[in-house]
Subunit: 138 residues, 2 copies
DNA sequence: GATGTAAATTATAATGATTCTAAACTAGAG
DNA sequence: CTCTAGTTTAGAATCATTATAATTTACATC
């Protein structure tokens, strides 16, 4: 159970002022055991339910972008409808449940090492990610 | 070099009327040797340059959706800005060049077999795709 | 603790991709 | 040729996201 000072330090150390909005969002995103995958809309709804004082949607966007820029969040592209964000900022793989429309992390050991044999001159590999789309049986 | 009757048959056989708009788009998309990756905007621009008679943007969307539904096109999700479409409708992997912002097909042999070890009860795997983000060196 | 200033928040407008609507047009069956 | 369902179309609507510009806040300096 993190307390606010952890988040205040985290924000300060990366040049972000610890405002009450950012701290609330930090608590919501990072004060948990498991990876959290969410959309802006999802996050915004949770914030509306959890706190009386509203955080403007623009601030939710701004904050998520700031956290992404600082490497606290990672953006995942599943479809072009909306962006998904991930509190697991490492390079990793996903199941995407097409019925629940939600992401599930895959461990590297669930996928195995991927070795790309093709090389393009002048280009370097930035990331290798596997997306496994799953759906209900039958 | 396909002639129109190939496309007319293709459309007919899947219950789509061969209109002049659909035939033009077929020629543009499928009368080529290599896989074509495109966005709606990209396709629309090519059509505007290639033909004097304009095809309305709504028709371009309608047609691409119809082709996707019929399995002539595949949608690829790279980011949430816009959708990419692919004339290679098989399950396959991609490079995404972050500088040119374009997709490049990877052969299965460039990636190797991917064996997902994790199983979720009640769920089946629909597709497994690898996205390798690349960018200019240095 | 008061003051000044840059950073942040906010409501609202703008943007841009996509989808919807409803009227006009057309393919093709009969 | 006629009729009708399918298609195209311009334009409006929608929705996620970004921009704007005024207000508020954090916090360094006094
Ligand atoms: Mn989609
Ligand atoms: Mn993006
Ligand atoms: Zn994840
Ligand atoms: Zn492809």
């Amino acid at each position: 159970m993190n307390n606010n000072s952890v988040f205040i330090n985290k924000l300060r150390s990366s040049g972000l002022r610890p405002t009450k909005q950012r701290i609330k969002i930090c608590k919501l995103l990072f004060d948990r055991k498991n990876t959290f995958h969410f959309t802006i809309n999802h996050l915004n709804n949770i914030l509306k339910n959890k706190y009386v004082e509203k955080i403007s949607l623009a601030t939710v966007y701004n904050t998520v972008h700031a956290f992404k820029k600082m490497g606290y969040l990672k953006e995942i592209s599943i479809n072009s409808d909306k962006s998904y964000y991930d509190t697991n900022v490492t390079n990793h793989h996903h199941f995407f449940d097409e019925n629940k429309r939600e992401l599930i992390d895959l461990d590297d050991k669930d996928v195995g090492k991927i070795n790309i044999k093709k090389v393009l001159p002048g280009k370097k590999i930035n990331s290798i990610e596997v997306l496994v789309k799953i759906a209900n049986n039958n």
